[in-house]
Symmetry: D2
Subunit: 140 residues, 4 copies
Amino acid sequence: MPQNTQAMLQTHPNPGSVFDQGALAACIDACFECAQVCTSCADACLSEQGHLMHLVHCIRLNFDCADVCGATGRVLSRLTQPDQNVLRAQLQACLAACQACGNECEMHARDMNMQHCAVCAESCRRCEQACQQLLGSTSA
Amino acid sequence: MPQNTQAMLQTHPNPGSVFDQGALAACIDACFECAQVCTSCADACLSEQGHLMHLVHCIRLNFDCADVCGATGRVLSRLTQPDQNVLRAQLQACLAACQACGNECEMHARDMNMQHCAVCAESCRRCEQACQQLLGSTSA
Amino acid sequence: MPQNTQAMLQTHPNPGSVFDQGALAACIDACFECAQVCTSCADACLSEQGHLMHLVHCIRLNFDCADVCGATGRVLSRLTQPDQNVLRAQLQACLAACQACGNECEMHARDMNMQHCAVCAESCRRCEQACQQLLGSTSA
Amino acid sequence: MPQNTQAMLQTHPNPGSVFDQGALAACIDACFECAQVCTSCADACLSEQGHLMHLVHCIRLNFDCADVCGATGRVLSRLTQPDQNVLRAQLQACLAACQACGNECEMHARDMNMQHCAVCAESCRRCEQACQQLLGSTSA
């Protein structure tokens, strides 16, 4: 599926950002993708009849991560007159949520052979790194 | 950016759906993409200094569409014990939101040469068609 | 806690609405409240160790209802240049989600003595009725 | 309108929290209320025909604050097996968003006599203080 994230940043009347534009587009995409995948992983865990009791913490973290990534993706999608404190604090929260959820999913992928957790851990790691990179980037 | 939507559907312990799986994955992706692009288009419109007064209706519809697509994408991402009435009613709402926003953006792209509106109209149309197709599909 | 919903509608520069203003404020409040309560009920169900397997459908409907009510509450909070098709279709989806979730929670409150489901059913019924009333109302 | 937030916390099968329960209920309510009011204030600003150009920064901060408060309210509504890092980081982000938006709205209420901004500033301040209090509280 084509992603229009980059096209939207490029056609913005005021495309300057506090962040590097490539890193920004990557982070927006990673946030929306992680929100989708975490919503999906919580639901997959909920259908794991024999293992449900062991997946309660995972479901909890999936939902937190989906909510936090969703809000972060929306905040980052705006370029108009941002507040740097808000951007940075929300990126820090997104980092924390992706880290916690990625760790938990990685464990279930390894120890319980949960394939959906393996996919979800990958999306969490990508989003975690994209947030880290964005926090370290500055626009020219 | 790789999309893990399909991978999540395929690793779900209970992958049966009331909808065809390919059409479902396409619609989930279209919903999340449209939520991002509409958030971005509202912000781009807000930065159009000379034209802002003419873009108020567009901003309004962008926000409605972003909210409705976001909720629809989350509801569709769940396969576990769905309620068909909820799924169908939310898909109908998503169709209406994408249609209204797509029409408005198309007009601004054509009459005011707004490039971000052209990109947004494309995402709205894709999501509108994906919802239409999903409403018409049934799983084998 | 004081609710500022009504105060916001009254201080809006353009307070006319396609709906009756009292019914609108009640429905906005009911949507946000139901989104909170359904999020909370899904989490309470997830902590019901001995009964978790019987609450999977309830958790599923709680999440759908939370997402749909959240989006509906945001769409209704806007008065500026609305699209009636979008408003009505989203209200229909909200009705369907509250009905499905309210029915399920009512059953668990009655048959399994789940107190959080009893509270949640009450919020779902209030929101369902508020949507119904709004769909039947027209502004003077 | 009755708020069921407290009732949901009290009927939770596992009501212990990392936070004091009264402070938690107050903060959840403040987050959902602020999400509603900020959505409404952005829309009211968008309808201020003569002043729209001066309200662009306010609209931007309203939307950030609505998104961040919405996500925070959902994360806080869960008691099951939380991750303290995620909770604290998201509360910090909510504090930052409410502070930025509250400052901007306060200015427009004072200098431009914007009544909706006065109401919104009040909701932002209440949410800011509720986050601060929650970050300082610990459960017995």
